[in-house]
């Protein structure tokens, strides 16, 4: 057999390789990685009245909810850099979060019962966001009030900055924090979303 024949036969057979079933591989990999304790960050996207949300969980709990405007790639890179590069798309692992968010948006759930992973929150923001998490459904608090709760009565402005970069919006309800001077105040996901969430809860800003 000539060289050319051999090469042609190799190329012919190579071109007929069966295609990978990517979906089946993803399911198997997700389960195997979970069993081996290697799935440090599992994420999925889910539909909501506020657009497609990206939700990420770690073995400790919910670590991130991102609005569409944040860009999936950038959010995943942030998770890889700050939590762990072992990041996989794994919808099964985000089921609990999905269920509670669905119920919340349908008006069936007033208070989330999800373990949270605060890995993406540092320094001053930890106290602010923990205080924010205690503001109940349907009510609002001012920036100064959460700052005082967190032990910095003069920290209203700093509180606003911390809330603006809240990695777990909706579940850590930064939309419930408004300015003492009246009005809606800012929101990381945009004022329209803040207005939507407050009216969903039947709350009206002072």
């Amino acid at each position: 057999m000539s060289d050319l024949d051999l090469e042609r036969r190799l190329a012919d057979a190579g071109a007929r390789t069966p295609a990978l079933d990517a979906q089946r591989l993803a399911g198997r990999l997700q389960r195997a990685a979970t069993d081996a304790g290697l799935l440090d960050v599992a994420y999925a996207s889910l539909d909501s009245p506020l657009g497609e949300l990206l939700v990420a969980v770690t073995p400790r709990g919910l670590v991130r909810i991102a609005y569409p405007g944040e860009g999936e790639e950038r959010v995943l890179e942030e998770l890889a850099g700050q939590v762990s590069p072992r990041v996989l798309r794994a919808p099964e692992r985000t089921d609990a979060v999905r269920r509670e968010l669905d119920d919340y948006f349908a008006g069936r759930l007033r208070s989330f019962d999800l373990p949270l992973d605060w890995s993406l929150v540092h320094g001053f923001a930890v106290g602010i966001l923990r205080a924010t998490a205690r503001v109940p459904f349907g009510s609002v608090a001012t920036y100064g009030e959460v700052a005082a709760e967190a032990g910095s009565p003069r920290g209203a402005r700093a509180a606003g900055n911390a809330l603006h970069v809240n990695p777990i919006p909706i579940v850590v309800p930064c939309h419930r924090i408004v300015p003492a001077t009246g009005g809606l105040g800012g929101y990381g996901g945009g004022q329209e979303r803040k207005r939507f969430l407050l009216s969903l809860e039947g709350a009206s800003p002072a």
Binding site: M1, L10, G14, T17, L20, L29, V87
Partner: protein
């Protein structure tokens, strides 16, 4: 060091690694082998010190897994021959799937090549890559890639002509 999220490696390379493994060990075991490859990669990933060529890193792991799989298969075959000799019965070979690549004889010969030659031949003829690119993917120089392909072909020619 900044490592990209592991999912982006899966998205970028899984389909191609699968083709590489189908050519290296056959379609029946390729998916299992791919999963083992990705799981091993994921285990080692956070400790990886050089992220400049993640594709070559994945191919190195895949190549090792393929070699392991072929070795296991060789052992199973030997054991089943042993059994045959003991009780005089043959155990059927696993059925070859309908989509199994044609030219099985040729591919059996490819799978029998030393790992570097096998990887180089598969990249040359299944992926139709230039030698520089093959070298980059399997982690050797362009010249070494050329030599591995040539040596692999020489050996294949000898075997298929026998």
């Amino acid at each position: 060091m900044r490592l990209p999220p592991f999912q982006s490696l899966v998205d970028a390379h899984a389909a191609e690694l699968h083709r590489f493994l189908v050519a290296s060990i056959g379609p029946t075991d390729a998916e299992d082998c791919l999963q083992e490859t990705l799981l091993s990669a994921m285990r080692a990933y956070p400790r990886l010190r050089d992220a400049s060529n993640l594709r070559a890193w994945l191919y190195t792991i895949a190549q090792h897994k393929a070699t392991d799989a072929l070795r296991r298969r060789g052992r199973r075959r030997a054991e089943s021959l042993d059994r045959t000799n003991r009780d005089g019965q043959t155990r059927p070979e696993p059925a070859v799937a309908a989509h199994e690549m044609a030219d099985e004889g040729l591919w059996t010969a490819v799978r029998g090549l030393p790992p570097k030659q096998r990887a180089a031949v598969v990249h040359r003829f299944v992926f139709d890559l230039a030698y520089a690119e093959i070298g980059a993917r399997i982690g050797c120089s362009e010249e070494a890639a050329r030599q591995n392909v040539a040596a692999g072909l020489k050996r294949l020619r000898r075997e298929v002509n026998e």
